[in-house]
Symmetry: C2
């Protein structure tokens, strides 16, 4: 039942401890150089087409009134992460907070007062050690589902996602190769569906069988495991990834995070982003093209409008087609959910909308 | 790929249409008798130990200014539900809203202006036709995961939940026998875990193998599919169900809904509730018994306190042990998350807490 241990990460964590030990031996101030995780150190790499971190770093030292506690906390978190590596276990952000929380000997002060103190340190260690959160064995929720011609090996079990009925395989939070091996995938593409309800429609209709695709959903903003699985299918199996979202600024944003990563977690783009991902819909032109009545549209509210205007300014939405797409939404003043396709017919998505989209290669890049 | 059709439900829906047709033929006012879904018509059945609906009904008629639109809407929803039955399809509440929304001929008025108008009518039809929402083919999200010695047949596929690695089988929203057949279950009990993070811990440690149980989670308040699957395992396979939740009023409430159903959906208790379910933890006594430090407890806020006091008054929490349990939480003024067990050790839940609970049969009824 033990897991393969990525000794690379374990060694990196030990290196962190070595910094402290070496400094102590020499009577010097231990210091860690931590890449800066602020907007000022994030840029869009036009060539790689992903959001990346820059090279700015900041030293975190112990002999410094303003940093001593944070330094101590960083080492405590590093210690908990080492424990995970040694034991071959995974855990959650919240459990790391509880694991590292205790009162400081002889005082009533706690090492941590809230998870908001430990979470950023885990991100600091991610960027410092150049290890994805998953490689540090920290998981999020399993919130995704997959079905289709994909066979994986998970903890020794061979799981054929084409043989799991309409339920499907619950995508683990951590799908790194040491945990989930892609054994076989004969699909032609990946369809990443924003919402579970459309995933259910397509799974029920066995859309993936007729169109030979992997059907993936994260039930909303795709969680890390779902994004990482899509990226691995793109990377290792060379499958195109099509993203199907509601026609609203939030849908555009979900697509953009899948494609080039997010500003907040810029470090992760290199392992999570899928720069070749395509936006297959719902486009702001679709309601007219597919004859959806105006009364199934929803009036854009002020927040939608200001969010759409923000998106218009993002570097990665500067392509002419994207400017037209977003501006058209603003001009008609309506957003449309994928669910609205049911107005035509319960199976309109499966039988009309997606087949026509795929046939016409009608997507945005 | 077509599904078995529960012709019973289809006939009931046709019966609804017949009411209208017969009245029209006779030039009479069509009327439907709809059970009243308000608190006044809900009671706790001490003998069956579930929350039930009473027998009050109200007539909904067409020739009545105040009811005409609602009557028309009820028939539209019934028509959409019939379409689902005939085609052997399932859909979501939201898609039913979109499907039945159109402008009324020659006017600018819509049949429905929001989903808040169609949802209650689906509930009306559930209670009127005595059909669970699932039997009406209306699904919610797939939000649950299961692993363990359970073999189901889903859409012709034989799914062995013991062979799906750490990911598991994604529990469909609809697990009625026509969709998911329980082929084999050799487990000794069902462990229904509130949060995904503990489910992940137990799945990673293969707890279900050592303790021979079905490990089930709904990632929070268990969704209908998860409750219904637990209920079927209890009913058909005679398995005890243990519920593991955070130690807070919300955890108590989740347990109580699993056990005797909810006030809002009292009609469904007879098919969803598990009156024999046991509360295995986290109990307000556990932090002391298991040596959790006070500083991993969270101070009860005003909302927690008033919610706990409400629970003290519920009929189904009148047992002496439950009164003590809730009062003890109030007296120490702290709530504890299951995650806090990680303070002792990342595997404390798997290796210490649950084994001792099961050995000592330390649960509340």
């Amino acid at each position: 039942m033990t897991m393969a241990r990525p000794s690379g990460v374990e060694r990196k964590l030990e290196g962190l401890a070595d910094v402290v030990i070496r400094a102590a031996e020499r009577g010097k101030d231990p210091a860690i150089a931590i890449p800066v995780r602020s907007l000022s150190n994030v840029k869009f790499n036009e060539k790689r087409r992903i959001i990346e971190m820059g090279s700015k770093k900041q030293a975190r030292t112990f002999f410094n009134m303003g940093m001593a506690k944070k330094f101590m906390q960083t080492i405590l978190v590093g210690d908990a992460l080492s424990e995970l590596q040694r034991a071959g276990l995974t855990t959650s952000l919240r459990e790391i907070y509880y694991r590292t929380k205790h009162s400081i000997g002889g005082s009533h002060e706690n090492t941590f007062d809230g998870q908001n103190e430990s979470d950023p340190l885990i991100e600091d260690l991610e960027v410092t050690l150049e290890a994805l959160r998953e490689e540090l064995h920290v998981r999020a929720e399993n919130a995704g589902t997959v079905t289709g011609p994909l066979v994986v090996v998970d903890d020794g079990d061979v799981v054929d996602c084409a043989k799991l009925g309409k339920g499907g395989y619950s995508v683990p939070s951590i799908v790194e190769p040491e945990y989930v091996r892609i054994k076989k995938c004969t699909a032609d593409f990946v369809l990443l569906v924003e919402k579970g309800t459309q995933w259910n429609r397509l799974a029920e209709d066995r859309f993936w069988r007729k169109y030979n695709c992997v059907l993936l959903t994260g039930n909303g903003q795709p969680p890390r495991g779902v994004r990482r699985l899509a990226r691995r299918l793109n990377d290792e199996m060379k499958l195109p990834v099509y993203v199907l979202v509601d026609n609203d600024p939030w849908g555009y944003y979900i697509y953009s995070v899948v494609k080039q990563g997010s500003i907040n977690l810029a470090f992760e783009s290199q392992r999570m982003a899928i720069p070749d991902a395509k936006f297959i819909g719902l486009s702001s032109r679709d309601p007219e093209r597919y004859g959806l009545p105006r009364n199934v549209g929803i009036k854009l509210n002020d927040k939608d409008i200001s969010r759409a205007k923000e998106l218009l300014n993002y570097r990665w939405f500067q392509k002419k087609e994207w400017q037209k797409e977003i501006r058209y939404m603003l001009s008609i003043g309506l957003k449309f959910e994928l669910d609205a396709l049911a107005n035509k017919d319960f199976q309109y998505l499966t039988k009309q909308y997606l087949p026509r989209k795929l046939r016409d290669k009608d997507w945005l890049d």
